[in-house]
């Protein structure tokens, strides 16, 4: 067994963020363990997206630290964090719309292999890159759409592509921002199954509103309310937590 410290992949320590006078993160402490599927839930405006933006480097924290595999990543740029093994997807579909599905994935694979400023080789004969891209495309079940433009894919296919691109960078820690938002029940079930498969052996942190997805997919859940973590624990623990019920779950059921 790993020791406690080794199994902590992502450690967030007293993270604070304010925009002007507006305090969004009011001291978040959170630890994500290696290989777990961790859900971040909370009411609208709780700061879930802001927390994702802080972890992935879109915003700089106003205070506190973030550690990835024991190394500090707070204050780094998104590309530097991505190269250290943490990649995110986006709430709104964020793909390369005028490129084929295959090429969308291949850009991620290029990133994983550190191919960034290569101007002296053709990409067609790069077998490792192309085969890996095809394998990933199969993994997210889009191989039949390899040559379609990303903008021509259906909404749920685009979301699957989004996840494929996140995987392609070879990240060990994957942040998914509402991967099932706007999907029908069938599509959601399909997506949950897909996420379960592709994140096997990796660490997943996801923002999700659909409680059936959260309870079905995730090992641990953190509840974020007004910039603070209200509770962290397994599904049963969270479900039975009085504080959480009054702050969030109860409110959800009324709707």
């Amino acid at each position: 067994m790993d020791t406690e410290t080794q199994s902590d992949v992502l450690v967030i320590d007293d993270l604070r963020k304010h925009f002007g006078g507006l305090e969004i993160m009011r001291g978040v402490d959170l630890t994500i363990k290696h290989g777990e599927r961790h859900a971040l839930v909370g009411p609208n405006g709780a700061g879930k997206s802001t927390l994702f933006n802080l972890i992935s480097g879109e915003h700089r924290p106003s205070g506190g630290h973030i550690y990835l595999q024991g190394q500090r990543i707070s204050g780094l740029k998104p590309e530097q964090i991505s190269r250290r093994g943490l990649t995110r997807s986006f709430q709104i579909t964020n793909v390369f719309s005028r490129m084929s599905a295959f090429e969308n994935i291949r850009i991620g694979v290029m990133a994983r292999h550190g191919i960034r400023f290569n101007l002296y080789r053709r990409i067609r004969p790069m077998r490792a890159i192309n085969e890996e891209s095809h394998a990933l495309l199969r993994q997210v079940r889009l191989d039949h759409r390899a040559d379609s433009l990303a903008s021509d894919l259906t909404y749920s296919e685009q979301r699957a592509l989004e996840i494929g691109m996140t995987l392609a960078t070879g990240a060990e820690v994957i942040l998914l921002d509402e991967p099932t938002a706007g999907m029908s029940r069938d599509e959601t079930a399909y997506m949950v199954e897909l996420i379960r498969q592709v994140t096997e052996g990796k660490t997943l942190m996801m923002v999700e509103h659909d409680m059936s997805v959260v309870f079905g997919l995730c090992d641990r859940i953190s509840v974020l309310v007004y910039g603070r973590i209200l509770a962290t624990g397994g599904p049963e623990e969270i479900r039975s937590n009085q504080e959480v019920q009054s702050a969030y779950l109860g409110e959800e059921e009324e709707h």
Partner: protein, 428 residues
């Protein structure tokens, strides 16, 4: 793919064989067309592939030109031996440097702000150059002479033509190869979604600087070739007109297709060569072409050609022949009417004509299309109307028909048109 290669080789053979049979005027026009083609292709690397619309690319074209003129002067005075054939290398190097430097600042912003920064940088050079004698030769500019190298004297236009052709073909080939490299693919991804490539681990700013620099470098080669051909350069190479012209060439040709801007540049610069020799209104015609292409074929000439090539197997060519012929005829009628009106106005509203009217007190007949017309004769204005109105009507009919055939290309290849309800509706 094989056909494309054959077509390119055939075109290349024509470009090699034909010029000796042409006069120096045409040779010179072809040199300018080739330079414009390379400039547009280099510009499109930034615009079409990188998604960064620059309004100041004249800066890097001009830097290439002045670099080469300086070097040619050193060679001419015997200060520094440098073979004439390799001059564009120097222009490329200096333009790359300037491009990376300017790109560093310009690419910190995107969209309109990026365009404004590039515009401002070019304007800076344009206003600075006339006052800086040592560097840009003041308002008169700098001149030099092409020195013989590698056994070639470069005394004749034809030799300069072949030098230009060689450089343009090599550079366009390199620009095409660029699109096939990993970085070329990354450039497209950058155009589509800059935020995403950052979160995938790429340095977006660095990528944009390099794309900008490479685009500037090839623009510098085009500028170098211009300097070699003209043996002179002055501050006007930095003007907004030069920057605007390459935008015009690129979009008329179609920025979404690699060969589009090259086609656009060749067509428009040869059009200018022919038409500017005949009429003062050539810029108006160029403007009309630009507006028409943007309105009716936003993907440009290249886009139209590409659509035809892609659909060549599924299009009902036999049934398209008649509406295409009709559209051509109608297009010619409308063009005739437009040209007639423009040329008539150009003559009648000219200062010379006004002076003649003042002198003699009468409106003399004038000549257009080899015929005499009187200003106040109804036939003079009825004639273009008689061409224009039926021409426009026929054009509409022809395009409606073409549209229907394109949209239904696969569904009823062998079917009788009249039996398909949607087709009947469209055909009416």
């Amino acid at each position: 793919m094989r056909y494309a290669l054959i077509a390119i080789l055939a075109l290349l053979a024509l470009l090699i064989i034909a010029p000796p049979l042409l006069g120096t005027g045409w040779q010179y026009a072809l040199i300018n067309a080739l330079i414009a083609a390379l400039f547009a292709a280099a510009f499109n690397l930034l615009v079409g592939q990188g998604g960064m619309l620059s309004f100041g690319h004249a800066a890097y074209f001009g830097v290439g030109a002045f670099t080469v003129i300086h070097l040619m002067q050193s060679v001419e005075y015997g200060d520094f031996p440098f073979p004439t054939v390799l001059l564009p290398l120097a222009g490329a190097a200096v333009s790359l440097l300037c491009g990376v430097l300017a790109g560093f600042f310009a690419t910190m912003r995107s969209g309109v702000y990026f365009a404004l920064v590039t515009l401002a940088l070019a304007e800076l050079l344009h206003s600075l150059a006339p006052h800086w004698d040592e560097m840009f030769g003041g308002e008169a500019g700098l001149s030099s002479m092409r020195m013989p190298s590698l056994g070639l004297t470069f005394g004749s236009t034809l030799e300069v033509y072949y030098l230009t052709l060689a450089w343009v073909v090599i550079c366009i080939g390199l620009l095409y190869a660029y699109t096939r490299t990993p970085f070329g693919r990354l450039t497209l991804a950058l155009r589509d979604n800059e935020q995403r490539i950052r979160f995938m681990g790429f340095n977006a700013h660095g990528t944009k600087i390099l794309v900008f620099g490479i685009s500037a470098m090839f623009s510098g080669v085009a500028g170098s070739l211009m300097a070699i051909s003209n043996e002179t350069a002055n501050y006007s190479v930095f003007s907004t007109q030069v920057s605007a012209l390459v935008v015009l060439h690129t979009f008329v040709g179609g920025s979404t297709i690699f060969f589009g801007p090259i086609v656009g540049a060749c067509v428009l610069s040869l059009f200018t060569f022919v038409v500017s020799g005949v009429t003062h209104s050539w810029m108006l015609y160029q403007g009309i072409i630009f507006v028409l292409v943007m309105l009716f074929a936003p993907k440009g000439i290249g886009g139209v050609i590409q659509a035809h090539i892609e659909q060549r197997h599924s299009l009902p060519w036999k049934r398209l022949a008649a509406p295409y012929a009709l559209a051509t005829l109608a297009g010619l009628m409308v063009a005739c009417a437009t040209v007639f009106v423009v040329q008539s106005l150009e003559i009648v509203l000219s200062r010379e004509y006004a002076a003649a009217v003042a002198r003699t007190g009468e409106y003399a007949p004038y000549t257009v299309f080899g015929l005499e017309w009187r200003v106040f004769h109804p036939l003079t204005w009825l004639f273009p109307l008689l061409l224009l109105v039926p021409g426009l009507y026929m054009l509409r009919r022809a395009f409606a028909r073409i549209q229907t055939l394109w949209d239904n290309d696969e569904s009823d290849d062998d079917g009788d048109i009249a039996t398909t309800p949607e087709l009947m509706e469209g055909g009416r």
